[in-house]
Each structure stands twice: as structure tokens, then as C-alpha cells.
Amino acid sequence: MMERLWNRKPSIQAPRIVGRLALAPLLALASPAIAASEESTSAPMYYLKTFGPKGDITASLTWGLLAIAAGVSVLMSVLVIVAMFRNGRSSMATPGSPLPIAHPPGGHRWIYLGLALTTLVLIALVIWTMDVLAEIDEPAGEPAFTIEVTGQQWWWEARYVDPDDPSRSFVTANELHIPVGEPVRITLASRDVIHSFWVPALAGKTDVIPGQTNETWLQADREGVYRGQCAEYCGLQHAHMALRIFADAPEAFQAWWDHQLEPADEVPEGSELLAVGERQFRLQCGACHAVRGTLAGGEAGPDLTHLMDRTTIASVTLPNTPGHLSGWIADPQHQKPGTTMPNPDLSGPELNAIRHYLETLD
């Protein structure tokens, strides 16, 4: 029905979007069937088809609730319509003309019956909800490690903590890797205002509130990339505060962790361009960004030691390609108006050198 309704309307809009519109509903209707485990799917934030135990059990509950909701809405609307036509209709000839009035009995039966049904359904829903709530409260097994996530305007910092070996901790940003099939504990703190940590294909939200540390856990049962996004309004760039969760095979995850522990590679001897880039980066960017193993040690912005391991930049706003990287460094305020990263004062060659240097950070 929606499709028909809407096919009649687009004439209001410019014709060039009609093509896109015609395709869109097909994609979205198909989306539950498509595995959302890749961000490339049409609905990466859809949460009625999920890929972890927390999301799965919630999705069943939500489907149940939605089915009841839709059923009740249709039933009641049909009752209203039937009721309207049931006894025939009077019409109002002229204002003030008296019409018949009656006081037929039988109305109360509706209420008693309706009340009884409503109450039964609600009791069932309360029990179901509590059951699910208890299920998602804690993971089945003790998580092997913790990711300390710090939300801030407008990106996510993540510190991986190995409880057995403190020296194996490291910091990264916006793209989190987890081992597939294992629960991971996540603690949430804020450096400024309230945010909310949300990866819909895996689990519901947990708010990130200054002055307190909230806890949640995640588990992905299928390898893939899951999109997350800040869900609590946090200011100008709330719209561009996304994150990605990569669920890796255990060995791949271990390799990733080991790689993250390493400092950045030294700039190779003899490359003037990279040497300039490294120096300019330290001068222009090092106050806010850290690259471990160099003198750049700022903490206000994301740690860039392994920037090239990430698929995106600017909190999953832009793909991590040389072109976007240059554009972002040159004019972050255009890409993400209001971002805390200022527009730098760089010449073309300096920008080029920095970008080339950044591309060595893998």
C-alpha cells in the first residue's frame, strides 16, 4: 500500500530522485533477508535481524511486540469503521434540527471484555520482557577482556585492557575489533557530555554519562562489520559520531591485537617527503594526536599509530582513502562543521607530505 501511495506523490519533488526512490523500497523491504553483517548492506543499522545473542533475543521480543501492536491497531480501526456503518447513519439536515436520542444497553460488555483481553496480553508481555531483560543483563561466560570506551564530541576512544598483562594495553579509536563468538565487556565513560553507545545489529544502547562508568557487553556470532552510532544527542556533530565493530576470527583478532601493540614504523632513511611529513605532523597535529614511537603524543584527538588499519576517518564519516584523507586534513570544518579539529594552516606541499606520512602508519 505504501508503495502505491508514494508512487503517486513524487511529482512534488524533482524528477531526478524518482529513479532512486523507485528502487529504495525494494532494497529496504529485502533488507531483513540480506545479512546485515556487512556495512555495505542497505540497512546497516537495522536491528530486527541481528548477529549476537543479545540482539537476537531482543529482536524476537520486538517482533512479538510489533506483531501485537499492528494487530491491535488494525483490529481497533476495523471496529471503528464497522461501528460507524452498523446501525445506518443519520444526517444533519440543518443546524439545530433535533435528532433522535437513545440509550441502548450493552456498552459495558465491551469494556469488560476489552479490559480482560488487554490485561492478559500485558501480563504475558511483562513476563516475556523480564525474561529477556534477565537474559541480556550478563553474558553467559565471563568476558576475556575489557574495552574501555570513552565517548567525546564527536568520536570514540577505545582502550583495550588485557586483565592478565597490563603491558598489553593499547588505545585506538572509532573502529573496534572483537573476537567472533566471545563476549566482550565494554565500560563506558564520557569526557564531556552524554553520549550513547549503540551497535544495533549486536545489542541495545547504553548511555555514556560523565561522572559515572556504565557497563555493557557485546558478542557477535558471525564475522563481519557492524555499524554503530551515538544515540544520545551530544551537540553539533551528533550526526557524525559513528563507530564500527569488526568481528574477527579468533586468530585474526589476536594478530590484530598484537599489531596494535607495536609502535609506528620509523620513517625510512632518505625519504625527504616522509621526513617533512613526519615533522609537519608533529608540529601541526602532534599536540592533539598521538603516534606511538614518535614525539607526537597528544591525547585530545584519536591515536593515529595504526591509522591505515582503519577503514574510515572522522568517526566513520569518510572512507579512509588518500583523497578523503587529504580533504579531511585540509578542511575538517567543511566535512564536519563544528568538529573540534581546527582547519590547519598548511601549504599544499606540507599537506601532501603529511598525507604521505599518514599513509605509512599501518
Partner: protein
């Protein structure tokens, strides 16, 4: 002027002489003084309605701008700051400056008429409440003039609302504006409660009150209990911003979540406050078009009161994601489910009324029928979010946006529009066009559902609220386009309403006293009613005074043509709380400019606080207090000072 302490009121019939005499006493004086000083509840009620509709239009235009921005991904029609100010002001406008004031307008206009009396309990306070509403609304809107409108949403969470993150005047406008607006809401609520308790037609015992009276009275008590929470929350915010207190900032041991508790303790009841009177309007007006009394009057009233009570116990369901303990979540989730039950009672009562009645299909009826459907959809989507586990996904997505719009547009606006088609003839003496009305209804209804039904899906596709744009790959493009198209159709539908009103005022069909053949007292007087409402004070013997002979179920007979004559100055009756037995004859105030002048002083005061003109603020405060002293100065003509005449 001295007044006797006692008298025995006389009963008599409506006569031309009496009408002329009363008219002289009660009419508002002409000219600017009358405009400023009038205390006529009908004039004030219409002012409320017109002002609230003006805010509805402004808030609607803001919504249309946002819908253009969101129609397609990655658009740059609006900057993030503009978008954030627009969505904040849209919420503030619709929730505060439209949704309650429109209901206050209807209640203001209708209360004395439905109750068979001549004015509200406090006519001057009534004028004051309107002036403060207008002034506080303009105060908040003045923020646009300097480009610093509130930009943190109507919910306005700390610490983003605090100075380090929000250094402009944006939040100060909102904080002070809401404290200011709260004064209007509070005195208005007190006025409704006292009017119901003390000023009714003799015989209108509480089991004979129209449901709309119950709805507004219930929420007025709710306002008296809830509103201080939000005024306080905003005042503390202002202190944090201006004087470095530590209520919400963590630096000095403050608690950001204190804001959320204070805000939602107020704001959840508020949601019921802005729908229950509309539900009451439907409960009164729908049966007229079903040609029968409402099914289960008593249960519907109990449901109204229960909803309000439960509404105070569910605020934490807005905070499920904040890391509160398991047990607490279970309780608030359960309570949120239970609140469905009273709503179900009302819904089944309406459906049973239509089912067992004989329907007269008018535009008003269509709005009420649509209202029931929308009410159910908004209600069941609320049940979905009441389930805490599901809510952790649904929270802060467009699913909730769809839900709140079904509640606010479906229940408030549809009830109000139906109510407008129903009571407009009383207010203006002219009928609205039914033909144009059908167009108005169907466009509004279809536009609304096209805009907001797919929006549930937008939410399930994971679109978070309050984002100024979204990437192309997110899969939200087509649903957003649908919503944008629907919202423009909805806006066009609303435009037709104004066309209809304008045409009707110019050349509408005369309505007569009772165009719908309706049962309650407001239809027993002329359309529009005279300044004094009723020439003689009617006496009520049943729930449906104008239907009772035909229904044949009342013990006595209501008396409308013959009643108590109160013509010794502006007089009306004080009656007892339960039975509405006459207790005293009250002297009512003349037109009075003090409410307006005090509002001016307060406006100056709040402006001074905003701009840190401390001395002017102090002076305005003193002026406000002095104004109140003059306003309340004991007066002989109000029988407040010692009299000379004894018997």
C-alpha cells in the same frame, strides 16, 4: 461601596430587561483599555486558541524546513547549528507553546459555560495566565532574533546545556523562558481546579460533570504537582550557568542525571497533561454524533484519574539506557505496561459508544473516529517501548519520534480539530463548511499517516533522533522522503482549516444556540454567548440537561429558562465541592489592567536576568510585587472590605 453580608437570591425567568442590565455590567469596555483589561473568559479562551494555533503554524514551518533537510541523505540546506535550533524550538513550541495552551484555550472558553456559571473563579488571574503565556512564548522566540535559539532539544540534557559546552544565550532563553511559562501554567491550573470545586450550576454534583471538565481538572492537579519539578530543574540549570553552582556538572560533585530525573518527573506526566483534556473533549463531543450518552461514564473518569496518577510513576522509562539497576528497570517497565489499562478503558468506551449509537457523520465525527485509530496506534507503539529490553534498541530512534507524533498529533491535534469543528459554532455563531471540512480532514489524516506511519520503520532501520543529516548508505533515504512528502500534505490540510475558518467567519451559516442538538449547558445559551453567559443561573438535575426529557432517566428536571437572578453587580454563585449546593454569592471583578501591567514588569525582569542587568531585574521584581499589592488591594465592590450596611 458597601455590600450586605447576606441575601436571599431570587428566582426568575429570562427577560429582555434583565439581559440588557446584565449586558451593561458584564461587557468588556471598548477600546485599548478593554483589550488590555478584559477578564471575560471567552475572550481569553479565544486568545489562547488563536495564539496556540499561531505557535502551531510556526512550529509546523520549522518542521517542514527540517523535513526538506532530511528528505535526502547528505543535504546541506541547513547547517548543523540551524537544524539543532530548529528541532529544539519545534519541540518546545509544539509541546509547551501549542499543546497545553490550545487545551487551556478550550477549557477557558468552555469551563464556565459547561459548568453553568459566568466566569472562572479568578477572572483576573485568568487574564494574567494568558498574558504570561504570550510573554513567555515571545521571550523564548526572541532568541531567534539574535540567532541563539535553544539548541539542545526540548529535553535539554545536562551537561550539554551547561556553559562550557553551550556558552551562548541559547540555554538562558530556554531556562528563564520555562520558569516564566511555568507561572502561566501553574496559575491557569489553579484557576481550573478552584472553578470546578467552587463555581458550578446548583445541582451539578460531581457525577454530572462533563468528562472534559474531569480531564482538565485532573491534569490541572497534575500540573500543580509536576510543574515545580521542571521550573526547578531549569532554575538550577540557570544557577549552574550563571553562578557556578554544581547541580549538574560533575566537576563539583554534581549529577547530570539529576536533570533527567527532575525533567522526566515533570515531562512524563506532562504527556498525559496534554492529552487527557483532549480525550475528555472527545468523550463529550463524540456521543453527540452517536446520538447517545457516552458508555461507561464513571469508568472513563476513573480511567482519566488513574492515568494521571500512574503517569507520576513511570518517568524512569525515559532513562532505561542510563545504567540504572535491574530491579528499578523491571519496576518502571511493569508500571509503563500497566498504564495501558486505563487507556484501553477509554478506547473501548468510545468504540462501544459508536457501536451502540446511530452515527451522524460530520467532519467533527471523522476527526474523532480518526482520533481513536491514531490513539490506538500511538498507544500500542508506547507499549512496545515500555518493554525495557526492546526499548534499549528503540530508544532515541525515529520509532519514538513516530510514537510521540501519534500521541501528540493523533490525540491532541485530532481531538482539538474535532473539538474546533464541534465548538466553533458556539464561539462564532457560524457553522464551518462541512464540504471544506471533508477535504481538510482527509488531507490532514492521509498526510499525517503518510508522514508518520513509515517513520516507525525509519526507527526500526536504526535512524537515531536529532541528527541533522545521514549518509546515503544508511538505508534511510526512501522512508525519509515519504515522511517529507506526507508532512507537506499534512501542512496543506491544516492550511485548509484556516481557509475554512476564514470563509465561515465571512459568510458561514448561522449556527443558532444548539446546532448539533447536544446535551450540555453551553448549548443552552446563545451562539456566541453573551458576556454574562447565562441570564439566570441554571439549575441542573442530570448529566445531560438538554437531553434529559428525551432520555427519561433523571429524577428531577433541570431548569434553564428559570433560575437564580444575580444582577446586583457582577455576581455568580459559589457552590459546594461535591453536590454543588449554593454556598455564597460572589462578587466578580471588573476589567482590570493590573494583570497586564504585572506581566510587563515580569517580562522586564526576566529580560534583565537574561542580560545580567541585575539592578533593573531588582526594580522589575519590586514593581511586580507592588503590582500584585495593587491588584489584590481589598475592594468594597468585591465585598472584601468591611461593610456599613447590616440587614
Amino acid at each position: 461601596m458597601a455590600v450586605d453580608y447576606q441575601k436571599r437570591p431570587e428566582a426568575g425567568y429570562v427577560t429582555k430587561e434583565l439581559e440588557a442590565k446584565l449586558h451593561k455590567m458584564w461587557e468588556t469596555k471598548p477600546g485599548l483599555f478593554g483589550v488590555i483589561a478584559t477578564v471575560d473568559h471567552k475572550v481569553i479562551g479565544i486568545r489562547y486558541i488563536v495564539t496556540a494555533f499561531a505557535f502551531l503554524v510556526v512550529g509546523g514551518l520549522q518542521a517542514l524546513l527540517m523535513r526538506l533537510q532530511l528528505a535526502q541523505p547528505d543535504q546541506t540546506i541547513l547547517t548543523p547549528e540551524q537544524y539543532n535550533q530548529l528541532f529544539s524550538m519545534h519541540g518546545i513550541t509544539m509541546i509547551f507553546l501549542y499543546a497545553l495552551p490550545i487545551l487551556s484555550g478550550f477549557s477557558n472558553y468552555l469551563f464556565p459555560l459547561l459548568l453553568g456559571t459566568r466566569d472562572m473563579a479568578f477572572p483576573r488571574l485568568n487574564a494574567f495566565s494568558y498574558w504570561v503565556y504570550l510573554a513567555s512564548g515571545l521571550f523564548m522566540y526572541a532568541s531567534f532574533l539574535i540567532g541563539q535559539a535553544p539548541n539542545n532539544g526540548w529535553f535539554n540534557y545536562a551537561p550539554y546545556a551547561l556553559k562550557p559546552f553551550n556558552p551562548g544565550l541559547n540555554m538562558d532563553f530556554y531556562a528563564l523562558g520555562m520558569v516564566f511559562f511555568g507561572i502561566s501554567t501553574t496559575v491557569g491550573a489553579a484557576n481550573f481546579v478552584v472553578t470546578v470545586m467552587r463555581n458550578r450550576a446548583p445541582g451539578m454534583s460531581i457525577n454530572r460533570l462533563p468528562i472534559m471538565i474531569w480531564g482538565t481538572t485532573t491534569v490541572s492537579v497534575g500540573i500543580l504537582l509536576a510543574n515545580p519539578a521542571v521550573s526547578l530543574a531549569f532554575f538550577l540549570l540557570w544557577l549552574d550557568r550563571q553562578f557556578g553552582t554544581h547541580f549538574y556538572d560533575t566537576a563539583g560533585g554534581g549529577q547530570p542525571l539529576l536533570w533527567q530525573h527532575l525533567f522526566w518527573i515533570f515531562a512524563h506526566p506532562w504527556v498525559y497533561i496534554i492529552v487527557l483534556p483532549a480525550m475528555g473533549m472527545v468523550s463529550d463531543a463524540l456521543p453527540v454524533f452517536c446520538r447517545r450518552p457516552l458508555v461507561a461514564y464513571t469508568l472513563v473518569i476513573l480511567a482519566t484519574i488513574t492515568t494521571m496518577l500512574l503517569g507520576f510513576g513511570v518517568w524512569v522509562h525515559h532513562m532505561f539506557a542510563t545504567g540504572i539497576p535491574f530491579l528499578s528497570m523491571s519496576y518502571f517497565s511493569g508500571a509503563s505496561f500497566i498504564i495501558t489499562i486505563p487507556s484501553a478503558i477509554a478506547t473501548f468506551a468510545w468504540i462501544a459508544t459508536i457501536w451502540t449509537g446511530r452515527v451522524v457523520v460530520t467532519t467533527a465525527f471523522l476527526y474523532f473516529a480518526g482520533f481513536i485509530s491514531m490513539f490506538v496506534i500511538g498507544g500500542v507503539s508506547g507499549v512496545v517501548t515500555a518493554s525495557v529490553a526492546a526499548d534499549l534498541q528503540l530508544h532515541d530512534t525515529y520509532f519514538v519520534v513516530a510514537h510521540i507524533h501519534y500521541v501528540l498529533i493523533g490525540i491532541n491535534l485530532f481531538g482539538v480539530l474535532g473539538g474546533l469543528y464541534f465548538w466553533f459554532p458556539k464561539m462564532s455563531g457560524k457553522m464551518l463548511s462541512e464540504r471544506l471540512g471533508r477535504w481538510n480532514f482527509w488531507l490532514t489524516f492521509l498526510g499525517f499517516n503518510l508522514a508518520f506511519l513509515p517513520m516507525h520503520w525509519t526507527g526500526l532501520l536504526g535512524m537515531p533522533r536529532r541528527i541533522y543529516t545521514y549518509p546515503e548508505g544508511a538505508g534511510w533515504s526512501w522512508v525519509n522522503m515519504l515522511t517529507t512528502v506526507g508532512s507537506f500534505i499534512l501542512a496543506f490540510g491544516i492550511l485548509l482549516l484556516f481557509v475554512n475558518v476564514w470563509m465561515s467567519l465571512r459568510r458561514g451559516v448561522a449556527a443558532g444556540a444548539n446546532p448539533w442538538d447536544a446535551p450540555s449547558l453551553e448549548w443552552a445559551t446563545a451562539s456566541p454567548p453573551p458576556a454574562y453567559n447565562f441570564t439566570v443561573m441554571p439549575v441542573v438535575a442530570s448529566r445531560h440537561p438538554l437531553w434529559e426529557d428525551r432520555l427519561g432517566e433523571s429524577e428531577g428536571h433541570s431548569s434553564i429558562e428559570r433560575g437564580l437572578i444575580l444582577d446586583d453587580g457582577k455576581e455568580m454563585l459559589a457552590t459546594s465541592v461535591i453536590d454543588a449546593a449554593p454556598r455564597a454569592i460572589l462578587k466578580m471583578p471588573e476589567d482590570d489592567p493590573w494583570p497586564f501591567l504585572v506581566t510587563l514588569a515580569m517580562t522586564l525582569g526576566f529580560t534583565a536576568l537574561l542580560l545580567h542587568w541585575w539592578w533593573i531585574g531588582l526594580a522589575a521584581g519590586v514593581a511586580t510585587l507592588l503590582g500584585c499589592v495593587f491588584w489584590l488591594w481589598p475592594r468594597g465592590d468585591l465585598a472584601q472590605t468591611k461593610g456599613t450596611a447590616h440587614e
